[in-house]
Every structure is written in C-alpha cells, then in structure tokens.
C-alpha cells in the first residue's frame, strides 16, 4: 500500500493569483491541480467573494513529497508576505499513483 501514498497539498489564496500560481505549479513539477472557488477569513480580514477582487480559490495538488516541498518553499519565498494565503498538506493514498 505504501507505494500509493502521495502528498495532498492544499493552498487557499486570492483568485487574482490563479493564473500565476498555475504556471508555478507546472514549472515545479505538479502533474495537475484542482481548483474550487472559496470565500473566507484570515489574518487579512474577511474575503467574502462578493466580487472577483475579494474572492479566494482553494487549490489542491496531489504530488510527491518532494514536489510538495518545492511548491511550499516557492510559496513561502515569493507569495506569503504579499498575498492572502494559507497552505497545509497531508498524506493520502491515491489510486493510480503513477499519475502523480
């Protein structure tokens, strides 16, 4: 079973960052991603998704621990200080591990 354990990295951030983020994910070796629209509250206050400007996205990336590390680092270095962003990861068992 072990060989089908992968990391599920979840990034919650600003909608305005979507296209940039998607490019980063590709360059960092993620084979895919899933995005859902979200709203929420955090240290940068309420983001109620009343319009694009204060809408959030919830990005999920299934990948290897290494890729997750790399993405995490890139987010920390380039985006954390300036964008509404929260990130967390956990191990999940995937079907078709070769995909990720």
């Amino acid at each position: 079973m072990d060989n089908n354990i992968r990391t599920l990295l979840t990034i919650i951030t600003e909608l305005s960052l979507e296209s940039t983020l998607v490019k980063e994910l590709k360059t960092l070796g993620a084979h895919g991603y899933t995005i859902t629209n979200a709203r929420g509250k955090g240290s940068r206050g309420v983001r109620g998704a009343d319009w694009d400007v204060d809408s959030n996205i919830r990005v999920e990336v299934l990948c290897t621990a290494e890729v997750a590390q790399a993405i995490g680092k890139r987010m920390q270095d380039k985006y954390y200080d300036n964008y509404a962003m929260v990130m967390f990861s956990s191990d999940v068992s995937v079907f078709r591990p070769e995909k990720f």
Binding site: S16, G45, G48, D50, V53
Partner: protein, 315 residues
C-alpha cells in the same frame, strides 16, 4: 430630483451597513458589469465611426498625460504626508490617476437626465485614462529596470477583463456603426439604466463592506479620498477647457479625473506590486471616493464646468 440609480446605490450602502442578508452572488456582479462595459464601449465606438480618428489624437494624448500627472501628484502626498510605504503610496496614487467606469456611467446618466450634451466619444478617453497610471505606479516602485517584465505588465493591463470589454465594445461599435447595431440595442442600450441601477446596488453593498475598514486606517485616508478627487476634478476641468470641450464634456472629463479605479488598477497592482496592501487603496477608492463622486462630486464638477466656461466665455 435625484436620479433613482443614486437611490439604488444608497439602498445598497444601507443594506450593507445594516448587515442584511442581501448578498448577491459574484456571478450577477460579473454579468451586470460585462453588460455595462460592453455597452459603454459600443456607445463610444459608434461615435468614433462618425469622425476621423486623427482629430481625436490631441485629446487622447493630453488625457494620457493627465493620467501620468495625476499619479505623480498623488504619490508624494501619500508618501510624505500620508507616511505610507513607497509601494502603498504608488499603488494608491495609481488608483487615483486612473478611472472608475462606474463613476463615468453615473456621470453620463447625470448628463442625460439633465439634457446636457457632451462629446459622445468619451468612452475612448476613458479607456486611455485607465492605462498610464498603472505604468507610472509600477515605475515608481520598481524603477525602469531591466528585471521588470514589461511584456507581462502590458499584457496584464490590456488583457484585464475591464479594458478588454471596453476595447472590444469600442472596436465593434466603431466597425459596425449605429444602424448596424440597432438589433442589439434593446439589450445593451435600452436596458442600460436598469442594469446600471443593479450595478450600483451591488457597488453600494461592496462600498459598505469597505467602509467598515475605514476607522482602522484613520483620518488621513478619508481626507485624501475626498481632497484628491476635488483636486483632480480641477485639473480635469482645466484640460477640458484647453481641449475646447463642451460644458458636458468638460464635466465628464473632470469626473474621469476625479474618479479612482477599482478594477483595472487593483488587478494590475496585485500582480506587479504585490507588496502594496490592496485593502488600503480599495478602502479609499470604493469606501470614500466612489460614494463621494457619485453622491456629491458629479453635480459639483458640472457646476465647476459651467462656471469655468462662463468665466472664459467659451460657451
């Protein structure tokens, strides 16, 4: 007699401040603003079709320059008096050097309501005025260095939804001319005022949410959010006179100058000057200046235009 669309805006603000359950899904905001932007572009394009483009060049150039000037005036004020970080000062300045489509639409409605004629190609100037402030704002922070990816910036500016739709409408209107567009006028022109009313209702709700953030940024931002539009409107009026615009046209140019962006500039700054705090600029632009311009500014700027014109006996 106040225009009902203003009442829709007030209704939105009140509903927002009352913390009512009146929240509209973002998709409705999208739909309504797409219709507005296309309609404004189409209206402007139809007018462009009527006159040789080159005759407008002087206006276009001077309006472009005005955008630069307004940003360069706002920046030091924010930096030294406002004590804002350089990035924030530049970002806020860019917002005020650019324009607000919503404010423009209300100004146009005001003119129509009072039967005041104006140069119908104003949407063209609107589009042009959106742009320079963004570039200046970025330069003020990054300087004119190699590593700024200008290509990306330009794309960011022109590929943004707001400008895309305005430009698209302009070009389509320009190519088609009014009689060709007659079949689509029921949606884009006849419904315009009603759609604008819905838009202002939503803007009221959003403005209210920004107002709640006001106290934490203190008095300076409020003062700036009112003083800057007033100053800009004077500059806009002066330029209107120089360009020999009609009274209505002058008043609208003053309104364009006075208005602060809340679509194109925030989007561009978020990508190109991310260290600037967007809450600051949006609180000023949406929480203060937009309501001020819509409720008080526009009639004021019109009076100013009347006064200026009579003063210089231009009309």
């Amino acid at each position: 007699m106040t225009d009902p669309i203003i009442l829709f805006f007030l209704f939105g603000i009140i509903a927002g401040l009352l913390k009512s359950e009146l929240r509209l899904p973002a998709q409705i905001y999208d739909f309504v603003s797409v219709l507005l932007l296309l309609a404004i572009g189409l209206k402007g394009g139809i007018e462009l079709a009527k006159q040789p483009f080159l005759t407008l060049l002087p206006q276009m150039v001077s309006v472009f320059i005005m955008g630069i000037v307004l940003t360069l005036i706002a920046f030091p004020v924010l930096l030294y008096w406002g004590k804002f970080k350089r990035a924030d000062a530049a970002s806020i300045a860019a917002h005020y050097g650019s324009v607000s489509v919503g404010t423009f639409a209300v100004a146009v409605a005001y003119m129509n309501n009072n039967g005041i004629s104006f140069e119908e190609h104003m949407p063209l100037l609107l589009v042009i005025l959106e742009i320079p402030a963004i570039l200046v704002g970025i330069i003020l922070v990054r300087g004119i260095t190699k590593q700024t990816q200008w290509g990306k910036v330009i794309h960011e500016v022109f590929a943004g939804r707001g400008i895309m739709l305005l430009l698209g409408g302009l070009v389509i209107g320009w190519i088609s001319g009014s009689e060709n567009l007659s079949t689509i006028t029921p949606l884009f022109f006849d419904l315009f005022k009603g759609i604008l009313a819905l838009f202002l209702l939503e803007m009221g709700l959003i403005a209210a949410s920004k107002m709640s953030a006001l106290r934490q940024y203190g008095i300076f931002l409020i003062a700036f959010g009112i003083a800057m539009p007033l100053l800009s409107s004077v500059i806009g009026t002066a330029l209107g006179l120089l360009l020999g615009l009609s009274i209505g046209g002058t008043a609208i140019l003053a309104t364009l100058a006075a208005s602060a962006s809340y679509i194109a500039v925030p989007a561009a700054m978020r990508i190109s000057v991310p260290e600037a705090n967007p809450t600051l600029s949006l609180t000023a632009s949406l929480g203060i200046s937009f309501p001020f311009n819509v409720l008080i500014g526009i009639p004021l700027y019109y009076e100013m235009a009347v006064g200026a014109h009579s003063l210089f006996a231009l009309s």
